[in-house]
Subunit: 593 residues, 2 copies
Amino acid sequence: MKLRHWLPWLDWGRQYNRTTAAQDGLAAVIVTLMLIPQSLAYAMLAGLPPVTGLYASILPLLAYALFGSSRALAVGPVAVVSLMTAAALGPLFPAGSAEYIGAAMLLALLSGVILSLMAVLRLGFLANFLSHPVISGFISASGILIAVGQLKHIFGVSGSGGNLLQISSSLWQSLPQIHLQTLLIGLLSLAWLWWARSRLKPLLQHLGLGAGMAGNLTKAGPVLAIITAILVVTVLQLDDSGVKVVGVIPQGLPGMMTPTLDLQLAIVLLPAALLISLVGFVESVSVGQTLAAKRRQRIEPDSELLGLGAANLSAAFSGGYPVTGGFARSVVNYDAGAQTPMAGVFTAAGIGLSVMLLTPLLHNLPQAVLAATIIIAVLSLVDLESLKRTWRYSRPDGAAQAATLLGVLLIGVEAGILLGVGLSLMLFLWRTSQPHMAVVGQVPGSEHFRNIERFAVVESPDVLSLRVDESLYFPNSRYLEERIAELIAARPQVRHLVLMCPGVNLIDASALDSLENIVERLRTAGVQLHLSEVKGPVMDQLKRSSFLQDFGGQVFISQFQALQTLSPQIALDTLKQGAHIAHLPTQLERQAP
Amino acid sequence: MKLRHWLPWLDWGRQYNRTTAAQDGLAAVIVTLMLIPQSLAYAMLAGLPPVTGLYASILPLLAYALFGSSRALAVGPVAVVSLMTAAALGPLFPAGSAEYIGAAMLLALLSGVILSLMAVLRLGFLANFLSHPVISGFISASGILIAVGQLKHIFGVSGSGGNLLQISSSLWQSLPQIHLQTLLIGLLSLAWLWWARSRLKPLLQHLGLGAGMAGNLTKAGPVLAIITAILVVTVLQLDDSGVKVVGVIPQGLPGMMTPTLDLQLAIVLLPAALLISLVGFVESVSVGQTLAAKRRQRIEPDSELLGLGAANLSAAFSGGYPVTGGFARSVVNYDAGAQTPMAGVFTAAGIGLSVMLLTPLLHNLPQAVLAATIIIAVLSLVDLESLKRTWRYSRPDGAAQAATLLGVLLIGVEAGILLGVGLSLMLFLWRTSQPHMAVVGQVPGSEHFRNIERFAVVESPDVLSLRVDESLYFPNSRYLEERIAELIAARPQVRHLVLMCPGVNLIDASALDSLENIVERLRTAGVQLHLSEVKGPVMDQLKRSSFLQDFGGQVFISQFQALQTLSPQIALDTLKQGAHIAHLPTQLERQAP
């Protein structure tokens, strides 16, 4: 049972048969066609030789199939993670150099170790640090940054930079060196891909093809662009006239390679690896969950961590770079009928075959075409509407999203994401640091206690009843101290303070310290603290401290019991005042000002 | 009114009279006597010339009196902040050099700016990042680190280091160079101070002095040690035989000095300045609150920020270093009868007079005596019992405290505190990432809905009712998605999911995204989402998004109304089953397993 938890294929493998294999096989063919140009392009985006992208699409897919729980997730190089890889390694080594490639593998190794550790130590909750607005701002900014960064390949110039300002100024400066033939190829590719994305499927359907077939052919649009471009370059010998092509791609499967095993470098890369792991995991899980839900299946976050961890580890030792589950590719995989991760195994076989057979044919593939496929792919990531929606819905969340977006664009990938995470944590702390607390009084004719500001209730002059509508923990423990100091300073006649705790699910050590401080301070001011309506688990935990012995007050079952004990005359008088228990609160409710 | 908020002396200044002045004056005399050795010692601890401590005890006290709201807080150099100053500057410049002094003033400047900005932008809640276990672990570790670090002065050797390992090994290596006369002076001072602290007051009372007078004389114990030591050194000319003395202290008030205004250095020091500001603020506010509560007064956190900010800014321009409110000193101030911050003004005058008149007399003061006063003072900060208590009370809080303590001791001051803050945030996220959710069913004979695992309730087969007992926000939004996916995957017959939200006080943008994902996924699985018992403010916020139009379900006033609409037969049948509404839940409650 334990083993089954970690090896999901023990489940689906038992019912695997020829029908499923056929469905998985068909999906694999389509995904392979989509993955070849993508993996070449994303490797280029990551600053790596194109073959790295192919290598990262073989073993990692097998590794994910062993441990991952999603039936339809297609793992491999993706745009955002490629950008993060480039951002992490760009400042350290020249792109494409042996050190750079070794460091990319090290990054995959670190990422694999982090993800596997998160799986084993059940640390998946760490991904919660990346709130949706942060992720969304980051993805949009990445899309813009990637698209603008690829323009240099379209223009046939060189340029670099870690943020929008650097990239733009580098582009601007090299604009005079624009290479016209490259530009033409790039623009034509962009136009074709753009058109194919939106118009090809309806056209094919109009020509009589079935919706599924038309959709699958549309997905192969980039492949057609690539074949055409290779033919054109070869026939016109454009590579001799300066059109940059992919060049020699080593033929054959990757051998066992080891990443740069340099502790110093590993420490430098650790923050980037952590961010890559978290972002990759969040993206992957969200796709996996969406696809699983469609068939009422489930994915296991722990298995996903392990699957992605294994995928990255195998990328690290087979000449790849960090990988994760890709959104578009997984949807294509699902739509094409993939039933199990075996589709990934078949895809890996497809890519393996391509590496062995097709790479010589890719020599004359112009970089501008790859850049065009990247640009068209990432523009769908940019969603500035979402920023507007978030801002309208919630100012703090909108601010976090805007900060992440601008941070990534103007400072850099890592700085931007850290800015967003920091800001959303700060805003979260700010939001939870002032929980709702209400001074309550007794509803006449009942044993109920309600907010004195909203109901016509009776207060005892020497007993202050305060209801706390939130757990007491470190973000709000200081506020509790301040609020009580304020209330007591304003009511010199009070002798007892009853803290009514029906909404308190937790009292952490900070809040316990605060309560002890409060007891101490109240005592010197001649006031005794009591508690009422404390939940069972909270009482259990309080019993593990000496608070209940030392605080000198009582713990009452109900607020009414507290009043009955501390101020019996008023409690009973108020109770006798009427008997309309059920409806009184609404009748008594004061009009909102 | 606005001005009165920022200048608390407009309040207390109006009733200021001769009686209050006399009380403040007496307190000031006692605090001055205590402050002279402390400020010399803490400056030494911070790696600064002794006079810096005196300078930091003049203008900052006046500045705090202008803006601070605590009536009894005594501001000036304190042990923990001095240690943090040394930790921040030690790796950058040789202790005591002109660069070091300028950087210390810059640190005070940064700290002053940060605190003032926090006051104006109302960012006091940022101090909540420092949970009580982190603060407590940090203070204990600081005490140990400071005490061990001062041993070199007792032994008369040199040594340095940023953590316990470095300090110990440096001490160990220089042990052969031990200076016996210095050691003798140090040990005698330690013994006297230790004895005076615990035994002097009872003895004096036994000799017939009043408790107050005896207490005040005891506080002057360090002064007696200092006078004796100076006399001994002077008479025996011990400074010629190698006992290190304070040496020449410039006479006269500090002139206007500017800190090193170096942007590069400021950026390097910023994290340290931020931590110093937060730690100083937390310590200061906690003392201030305790003392204010004793007289049913209040302190204003914003005024405290501004007061401490002004104090640090004035320290920056008068040759001082970062200051804050000191615990022991403030208690002495309060006990000696200080009524208003005017006591601080008088204390500043006292220190000013000392700088003008007494500094030549301090030339022969042995550093070993100052080290002894520090050691005795900081040992009271070490509270390892607290670690045990916290661990017993709550494992996560105990872990955060232990990590801070060990981090500070073994790695260093800043790394330790960041480790603790990071760990407590992680544990907090972990704790809140899995909120309590219960599948609920209808209590027979009532319109009540309770947890199906705890009550014998009736469930409709095609309506799943899920109660969420927590606000929905980014730490738990992913959990919500997972939990619902799990529940729906396990119940193929379900057609409606009703999310019962009486405990939801907030739905942030992350949770809104998650809800939209959930709606989408449920829809593909043939399930419709509904909401019930949504609070007013949450509804208002939801209306600012398109969720309510798009989600396709209904928002019900009550869970019963939801069932009545979605599964009318079952709801009514269950309602008719009995009429013991009030008592049924308890009767029905299942025995805990």
